[in-house]
Symmetry: C2
Amino acid sequence: MEVTRTLARYVVNAEFKDIPQNVRQEGVRSILNWLGCAVGACHHEAVDCALEALGPFSGAKEATILGREEKVDILLASLLNGISSHVFDFDDTHLRTIIHPSGPVASALFPLAERVKISGAELLHAFILGVEVECRIGNAVYPEHYDVGWHITGTAGVFGAAAAAGKILGLNEQQMTWALGIAGTQSSGFREMFGTHCKSFHPGSAAKNGLMAALLAQKNFTSSNQVIEAKRGFANVMSTKHNYAEITEGLGKTFEVTINSYKPFACGIVIHPAIDACVQLKKEHGLIGAEVEKVELTVAPLVLELTGKRTPQVGLEGKFSVFHSSAVALLFGAAGEKEYSDEMVRDPKVTSLRDRVDAKIDPKLRDDEVHARVTLKDGRVLTKYVEHAIGSKEVPMTNEQLEGKFHVLTDDVLGKEHAARLLALAWKIEGLKDASEICRVSVAQK
Amino acid sequence: MEVTRTLARYVVNAEFKDIPQNVRQEGVRSILNWLGCAVGACHHEAVDCALEALGPFSGAKEATILGREEKVDILLASLLNGISSHVFDFDDTHLRTIIHPSGPVASALFPLAERVKISGAELLHAFILGVEVECRIGNAVYPEHYDVGWHITGTAGVFGAAAAAGKILGLNEQQMTWALGIAGTQSSGFREMFGTHCKSFHPGSAAKNGLMAALLAQKNFTSSNQVIEAKRGFANVMSTKHNYAEITEGLGKTFEVTINSYKPFACGIVIHPAIDACVQLKKEHGLIGAEVEKVELTVAPLVLELTGKRTPQVGLEGKFSVFHSSAVALLFGAAGEKEYSDEMVRDPKVTSLRDRVDAKIDPKLRDDEVHARVTLKDGRVLTKYVEHAIGSKEVPMTNEQLEGKFHVLTDDVLGKEHAARLLALAWKIEGLKDASEICRVSVAQK
């Protein structure tokens, strides 16, 4: 069974006209969500740091660091865009594998589009194919591969970036097979890095190394033809599970991007039901927070295991506190990057309400389910049951909600008006003559 | 037990004055052997290919591709030097782990020396420390790590390159710990790639990624402090064996570079005893080949298992033929890259003698042992028993033999006289004010 070659052949022969409308639409939503994250975090210290360290070695400055004025070469831009798109932990999630699919693929494609002139449709097509490749490879080895300690967004992502870039570069079947090989032999990234800059380095590295693999294969730099399935290749070396049918069956018929999901809140997914409930209660009853006597949550066991931090001291710890998260949701109707700042976790209004949030476990509850009960000072009791949190497969974020998230992320960087212009452009990507227009517009004019 | 930090602390605090003379000398021999390999293969198609693909993205052209006129940025130079130094499979071997130690470390250090002005002694010190780091990490996980399919020169080498580059960059203990972390989370390379350009890509990639790790750590790009020993770090994720004492005990007292070894012949190490015997017989009896009636070898079992190819069709296959190798050894007294060319395996003089070489197995023989029996057309019988092949730990290559190998590799690239100049400079590295002089002299003047 030729696993790698079958996948390569599919990518090489795929045509955009065969991609169904709903698949294209989810591709656009994924790109839009990724773009908001990348622009929103473009001045994060991890990006600053990497640019300061590696900028001096940049080649021809033909690619945009999304959101920023500096330009760098396309490989370095891939790395930096990958870092910024992931560093808020706010990007997309392929729930079957917990791969964050857009980071490795889109972060390589946009810089490449600034060098190789391509249309938005070409970029969108390559993006959908890259996501398909990385998620299928992830499906074949998940969860064993992840459980042993691999950060699957990096390890599978590099294949997706290579496939997407290879599609743009017009690789033939042999070259595409090699590109996957060169990519695979760079597959790397430990979960041990979570909590450090290296976590967001993984999708960045996957984007850069995948792009490099495609460039090398284009010049006939040779590799194995069986990097995925060989005895000493990816699946056998890096996983105890390898279900190759996940890779080879239904190619061109099913599309993994259609089950991509987007986070409405800038924190671990297990707190989302609680936040969702609090935001809904605030909206339905016009709450401002001060009238709240106490909040009682009934949550799934994992919620307190992962996010039971009672008194977070810094913003990052707030993301691991269901108490803080529920308090900001009631106070501000949001739980974005702003609500997890260092100032916010120390704000007396927030800490006062946080101390009145309680949570108890019900082992019968699923991870995306919650019961919230808010008692007001006037004695009234408000309740909300969330069956599936927003952002789940059952209740995906609407386009309007994605737009709201985009603005929250990018308004401070670009200004509201310019952010709206970038957003409008992202929605229209399929019709763009020149995909790199998005890179140019991602930077605010002075 | 702080494994990673202990190693980082040792590298940061190490002083050259504490490195014993024999250790320095073996460091020089390693660098010299590596330099000959890198210059000798600098026009190999794998290097051409990679340069053509990635050259367009090179930054400031401040580093030499050893042996070539083109210059590129220091990261790309690290990659290309790593490829050329390994692509002939003729570089050094740390026999305990079969790591090829110089490739990842020296390939990063020389480009860095062209940017950061350092003395030869500083480079030699960083080289010895880098080799120490990669080989100790290798010792901790070998052989299980290798057996599962990892190309250990790539996976361990990246740590060595980071440590060596970090020493030159003057990282403090925390930064060095991060540098090892950033390096480790890029650890990669499958044995599946053997036989393709990607094999030599591994030491190149390790050199480049290790250097990048040190540059990032210098700007305080954060990583884990326990990349080696963490539950989801290098040793646990990539090996079933992890003997941390190999990493932390005897630091500064024992030096892995002292057990480095060098190949006298450009092929797998199992054929070396047979070649050694044939070369000795040729020299002792002034044989020219035509007078030989037949050759009978008695070899260890692994010899025919790995190198039993009877009628090789191309040069690379000749490396897997004990018959071809013995024939060229008798005819030319050598088995270098030239004796494994496509023309050579088809040369009637070679094929005629090759067909008269026979080999039988003796399970009692060790891998580095051989009995050779040559019957001449005049009826005389010559015999040679090799107890340990040249290049083994017991019979290391002498300085003169290393010089001979250096010339065989570099004379065609540089001309004999210029090669001798480079060789003399390499011997003197410890006294050089500017280590990068070696890079400049590695290129022949027009």
